[in-house]
Amino acid sequence: MGRINIVVAIVFILFAVLVLFLSEGIPVSQSAPLTLGTPLFPRMLSYGILILSAVLIFTNWHEARSEKKENRQRLFEQGQLRIVTIGLGIMVVGAVIMIFLGFIPSMLIMNLAYLVFFKVKSKMVLMLEPVLTTLLIYVVFNYLLTVPLPTGVLFY
């Protein structure tokens, strides 16, 4: 875990540097001397992250150096990254087409895409799951809880 922890620390350092850079653009109010100013809190937190990341690197340095190549922990097993990317991709595509097609068609497509991706063979499941899930959620949210779900810009 030593090497992974060092990578984690580096990612957090990059994040803190980014926050420090972006905080330069935050406007400062007139009441700044008394209320510490708008950018101060995020800056203080960024310095905190830099210190903690340094501690994480320091405490894992020895372990990371002594880790043998064959013992190094891998973040992703073979094929995992592809599975996760496709899984997330389907969700993102579902959300994007929801803007155009509305809730019902987009969620029908999203659910069906997941079932196909998971290699579900049963035709019954392929037909019923997307329809039942989408319609049940739509009825509960739209009618019972009066939460308006997107209707889409194409059919509106």
């Binding site: 922890n5 990578v7 984690v8 620390a9 957090f12 994040f15 926050v19 905080s23 935050i26 400062v28 109010s29 009441s31 700044a32 008394l34 209320t35 510490l36 708008t38 809190f41 995020p42 937190l45 960024s46 992250i49 903690l52 990341s53 501690v55 994480l56 973040l75 992703f76 097993e77 995992q80 599975i83 996760v84 899984g87 997330l88 969700m91 993102v92 579902g94 959300a95 929801m98 803007i99 969620m107 999203m110 659910n111 997941y114 079932l115 998971f118 499941v125 799951e129 997307p130 899930t133 989408t134 959620i137 509960v140 949210f141 809880l145 009066t146 939460v147 308006p148 779900l149 997107p150």
Partner: protein, 496 residues
Amino acid sequence: MFTNLLQGFISVFTNPAVFFFMLFGVVAGIIIGALPGLTSTMAMAVLLPVTFGMPPDVSFALLLSVFCGAIYGGSITAILINTPGTPSAAATTFDGYPLAMKGHAGKALATATIASSVGGLISVILLSTISPVLARMALKFAAPEYFALAVFGLSIIASISTRNLVKGLLAGFFGLIIATIGLDPISALPRFTFGRTELLGGVAFIPLMVGLFAIPQCLMEMESIFKQGEKPKDVKSELLTWKEIRHITPTIIKSSLLGAFIGAVPGAGGDIAAFTAYNEAKRFAKKGEQFGAGELKGIAAPESANNATTGGAMIPLLSLAVPGDSNTAVLLGGLIIMGLQPGPLLFSKQAELVNTIFATMFLANIFMGIIGLLGIRFFIKTLNIPKQIIVPIVLTLSVVGSYSMNNSVFDVFVTVAFGVIGYLMLKVDVIASPIVLAIILGPMAENNFRRALVMFDGSLSFLWTRPITIGFLTVAIFTIVSTILKQQIFKRGVSR
């Protein structure tokens, strides 16, 4: 007190409408609470217009039952699919989900149900007995006390980061920075909004929570779907034994009292109460109790505390007309619409209604317990549904849940973004709960620290001159130091 409660019971049982709407409210509340993205406040706000034509006792029976049921309902999905239905159930995932994964979902749900029910009952008893005293105490809280309470809450990050304290603290700091996105509440100047109006109010909490909890879990399930030879889990529907009930009883009582007190503090809701109670239960853990790995007390503490805030939040509302949280703000609206003025005079002028409110909350918590225990067999059936079917359902609910908070597709993308962050954090063994805790408490800490500075003309003397502030800060320091010492002792033990 008991005469008042008895009068309330009589009016509930002699009015079938009150009784019916109370039962309906409990069931509706449980369902709404279990749906990620729908909060008790939202449910009450949706139902408020429905109550306009109802008599006050019937309308309050409905609203209060929804309130109690929804707080409990959040625990069901927190335990079964690691997705807290409401923010106050976030702490329940720490031990609820691991216990469910060990095949003891029945025990986990029974613990949550009993703890929620008892927590609610204790808070109602407190509400009907010592509400004026507690309300006066809670109103002594000004900016310095709120800041200290937030710091105390944030100190919990140390105790929940058992595997690696530094990584837990890093996650907490990351969450605190995310919490600064939006308009600065003191100067109203934008921070990290990148010109997006959606970010002016900050990162919405529900999409973030759904992203950090539900999406990574679904991605991990996807990985296991494609793994060969993965066996389905054996899920038991067994409930708690008497020994286990005795084991969790002291935790439930302590957490309920803590939850009722935190609920009475305006602005501190069920989420803060749940995290605080979890931390306290963990701090006083006995040898062999493995918090974070399916410990029953780890479910009992947050669940009793968050439901105890229901009665606690009613204390300042009824006795001083000060809403303790967003739920009671909706109730205050309801009271005013009905032409009633909460405050000390309510107890003398509308004694019958006040008694009915106490009795309704009392009975709603009992029925919630009964319905919850009866429903466990049905709830755990979700764990037997094949992953190939449950994953699309959870992801659809995640999309709807994150969208429905602000009716914004932008929030769905926020969910996806935090889903990726949560998944990567899971891979590198950084826990996500400090982020949630930091986002709840970060704005409270920053705003009140800066307000306190204004109150004290830029001096930091409020940190050592106000007794309640000193008390909270001392406990916070003690929590952090004791966690570090415990971890050091544990490490030495392991290396030996």
